[in-house]
C-alpha cells in the first residue's frame, strides 16, 4: 500500500468509528440550507439580483452552503491532528516512512470524498426538496472547486493544529475564523450593496473567491476575468497553505 493510500485508509477507518463527525460534516450544512435558506427566502419574499439576473435566496445560498461543507470537513479533519496528539501517536506518525506531504494529502483524501458527497447532498436537497434551479453541466467544475477549497482550508487549519499545543486555543481560533470568514464573504448576501469597509476585507477572503466560483459553476453568474483571478487565487491559496503545513510538520518537535 502506498503512503497516501495507507494514510487514506487510516483516516477512513477512524472516521467510520465516529459517525458523529460524518454527521456533522454532511448534515449540518444541509440544516443551514433548510432552515436558514427557507427562513430568509420567506423573509425576503422576492429575489436577489446578481449581475443582472434574479435568483431565489435558496439558489443564492446554495453555493455558500457548499462553501460551508468545505469549511466543516476541513476543520474536523485538521482537528484529527489534536486527536493524534492526545493519543500520543502524532510524533510516532512522523517517524513513519512517508513524507510530510504524503501524510497531509493522504489525510485529506478520504475527507475530500466526504466533502464532495456533502456537496452533492446539499445540491440534491436544494434542487429536489427546495425547488432551486441550477446548471448541471458544470457539476465537475463544482466538484473540483469543492476539492481544491477543502484541501486549502484543511492545510491552513492543519498549520494551527500542528503549532498550537492546547485544544481549547485551537477551538477558539477556529470558531473565530469560522464566524469571520463566513460572514465577511459573499456567502449569505451580495457584497455589492455593502459599505466599502465591509467589501474590502471580503474581497481578500478566500471564502468569497470560492463562493463566487461555486456561484458561477452552479448558477452561471459572474464575469470571466474576476472569476479567472479568483480561481487562480484559490489554487495559490491551497498551495501556499500546503507548503506552510509541510513546514509546520517538519518543525513539529
Amino acid at each position: 500500500m502506498s503512503g497516501i493510500a495507507a494514510v487514506f485508509y487510516r483516516d477512513y477507518r477512524q472516521r467510520m468509528t465516529n459517525i458523529g463527525f460524518v454527521f456533522w460534516d454532511l448534515f449540518v450544512p444541509l440544516a443551514y440550507l433548510l432552515l436558514f435558506g427557507l427562513g430568509f427566502e420567506r423573509m425576503l419574499g422576492g429575489s436577489i439580483a446578481i449581475a443582472g439576473e434574479n435568483f431565489g435566496y435558496i439558489e443564492f445560498l446554495l453555493p455558500g452552503v457548499l462553501g460551508m461543507v468545505t469549511f466543516s470537513v476541513a476543520m474536523n479533519t485538521s482537528w484529527g491532528f489534536f486527536m493524534d496528539k492526545d493519543s500520543g501517536i502524532f510524533y510516532e506518525l512522523l517517524t513513519y516512512p512517508i513524507t510530510r506531504l504524503q501524510l497531509l494529502v493522504g489525510k485529506i483524501s478520504f475527507n475530500l470524498l466526504l466533502a464532495v458527497i456533502g456537496s452533492m447532498l446539499a445540491i440534491i436537497l436544494g434542487v429536489v426538496g427546495m425547488n432551486a434551479s441550477i446548471r448541471w453541466s458544470l457539476l465537475p467544475l463544482t466538484a473540483a472547486i469543492v476539492v481544491t477549497a477543502t484541501a486549502g482550508w484543511f492545510f491552513l487549519f492543519s498549520v494551527f493544529a500542528i503549532k498550537l499545543a492546547r485544544m481549547d486555543s485551537f477551538n477558539t481560533l477556529l470558531s473565530a475564523t469560522y464566524i469571520l470568514l463566513m460572514f465577511l464573504s459573499s456567502m449569505f448576501y451580495p457584497l455589492s450593496d455593502l459599505p466599502i469597509w465591509f467589501r474590502l476585507p471580503a474581497y481578500i477572503n478566500p471564502m468569497t473567491w470560492q463562493v463566487d466560483l461555486l456561484r458561477f459553476s452552479l448558477l452561471g453568474v459572474g464575469s470571466a476575468m474576476p472569476l479567472l483571478l479568483e480561481g487562480a487565487a484559490v489554487l495559490v491559496f491551497a498551495l501556499v497553505c500546503l507548503a506552510l503545513a509541510v513546514r509546520a510538520l517538519n518543525r513539529a518537535d
Binding site: 495507507a6 468509528t17 501517536i89 510524533y91 510516532e92 517517524t95 516512512p97 512517508i98 518543525r251
Partner: protein, 313 residues
C-alpha cells in the same frame, strides 16, 4: 559493514518556556554496529529522548552529523525512516480503532503488504496475548495493554533498526521479560536495537554497549565490562557471619561503606577505596565474629551510574 547508527558531534539546543536557551545535546558522538543492542542511560533531562527524536527524524539537529544505516538524518530523512521502527516514550496508539486495525494500519503505513501483515498479526496476537482483544477498541483498554500494543507494533516490521524510548514503562514483569527475550532474538537475527531506559537492571541485562548521558553530555560509554573498569575503586562485598553481636552493625558502619544492608547474620556493603585495606579491617572483625562466607564483586550498572552522576555534579 556500515554501522547501524553513526552520531558525530551532535548538538541540539532549544528555548525553554521561560525563554532560556537549553542545551539538550552537547557534542554527542557514538557508533552502533549492526546487530548490537545499545543502551542510552541517564536521568530525566539527560538528552536521551532528544537523541531518539533526532535519529527518528522528528527533530532536526543544530550541528554535527547523524546517520542511520548510512543515510543522513538531515539530508535523507525518508530513507532513514524506511529503516526504523520506533517506540516513543509516550504511549502511542490509535485510540478510536481496534487492536487489529492498530497493528495492521501501522504495517500498511510502513509499506508491508496486506497478506504479510495479516500473517504477522496472527503470530503477534498470540505472542503478546492480544488474541482475544483484537476486535476491542483501544480506548477501552488499560494503559499497560496500550503499551503492549505499541511495542507489539514494531514486530509487525522487519526494519533493520529498532529504537525504543523507555519502552517497557508500564508493562507487567512477565510481558517485560517476553519483550526483552524477543529483543534479544531480534538482535541475534541481525537487527540493531537502540534503547533508552532508566531501569538500569534492564540495560545491564540487555545491552552489549552503553552510553551514560547527563545534561546533554556523554559521561561514559562502552561495554559493561569497560564501564566497570571506570569504577574499579567501587566494589560490593557480601558477608555471612557465624553469629551476631550487638556491636557488629556499629563495627561495619565504622568501615564507612557507601551502602550497608544488614539482615540477621548477613551483610551486603558497597565500598569505595582500596580492596586490600578493607580486607585487613574485615579480618579484625572476623576475630570476634567469624566470617563464614565472603564474596567480592564489581559494581552493578546502577552503582556505576550513581557514582558517575555524583562525580558530574
Amino acid at each position: 559493514m556500515t554501522n547501524a547508527i553513526e552520531v558525530a558531534g551532535v548538538q541540539k539546543s532549544y528555548r525553554a518556556k521561560d525563554g532560556e536557551l537549553v542545551r539538550a545535546l552537547d557534542g554527542i558522538s557514538f557508533e552502533v554496529p549492526q546487530g548490537r543492542i545499545y543502551g542510552l542511560l541517564g536521568p530525566n533531562g539527560a538528552g536521551k529522548s532528544t537523541l531518539v527524536k533526532i535519529l527518528s527524524t522528528i527533530t532536526p539537529l543544530d550541528s554535527g552529523r547523524a546517520a542511520v544505516m548510512g543515510f543522513d538524518v538531515t539530508r535523507q530523512p525518508l530513507a532513514v525512516r524506511e529503516k526504523l521502527a520506533v517506540v516513543l516514550q509516550q504511549t502511542a496508539t490509535e485510540n478510536l480503532l481496534t487492536v487489529r486495525d492498530n497493528l495492521l494500519i501501522y504495517a500498511y503505513l510502513h509499506g508491508v503488504k496486506s497478506a504479510v501483515a495479516e500473517q504477522r498479526l496472527r503470530a503477534l496476537a498470540e505472542e503478546f496475548e492480544l488474541g482475544e482483544r483484537l476486535r476491542d477498541t483501544v480506548q477501552e483498554l488499560s494503559l499497560g495493554t496500550k503499551r503492549r500494543i505499541q511495542v507489539a507494533k514494531i514486530f509487525m516490521l522487519d526494519t533493520p533498526l529498532i529504537i525504543l524510548d523507555e519502552a517497557t514503562t508500564g508493562m507487567d514483569p512477565l510481558m517485560k521479560r517476553r519483550v526483552m527475550d524477543r529483543l534479544r532474538a531480534e538482535a541475534r537475527n541481525g537487527r540493531t536495537i537502540l534503547l533508552t531506559t532508566q531501569v538500569l537492571s534492564e540495560a545491564e541485562e540487555l545491552c552489549e554497549s552503553i552510553m551514560i548521558l547527563d545534561q546533554g553530555r556523554s559521561m561514559a560509554s562502552g561495554t559493561l565490562r569497560e564501564l566497570r573498569k571506570l569504577s574499579t575503586r567501587l566494589f560490593r562485598v557480601n558477608l555471612l557471619f557465624a553469629g551476631t553481636d550487638g556491636d557488629l552493625v556499629g563495627r561495619l558502619k565504622a568501615l564507612n561503606p557507601v551502602e550497608l544492608q544488614v539482615d540477621g547474620n548477613s551483610a551486603e556493603m558497597v565500598f569505595e577505596g582500596e580492596e586490600a585495606s578493607l580486607l585487613g579491617k574485615l579480618a579484625d572483625i572476623s576475630r570476634d565474629t567469624p566470617i563464614l562466607q565472603f564474596e567480592v564483586r564489581g559494581p552493578t550498572l546502577e552503582e556505576i551510574f550513581i557514582a558517575l552522576m555524583k562525580e558530574n555534579r
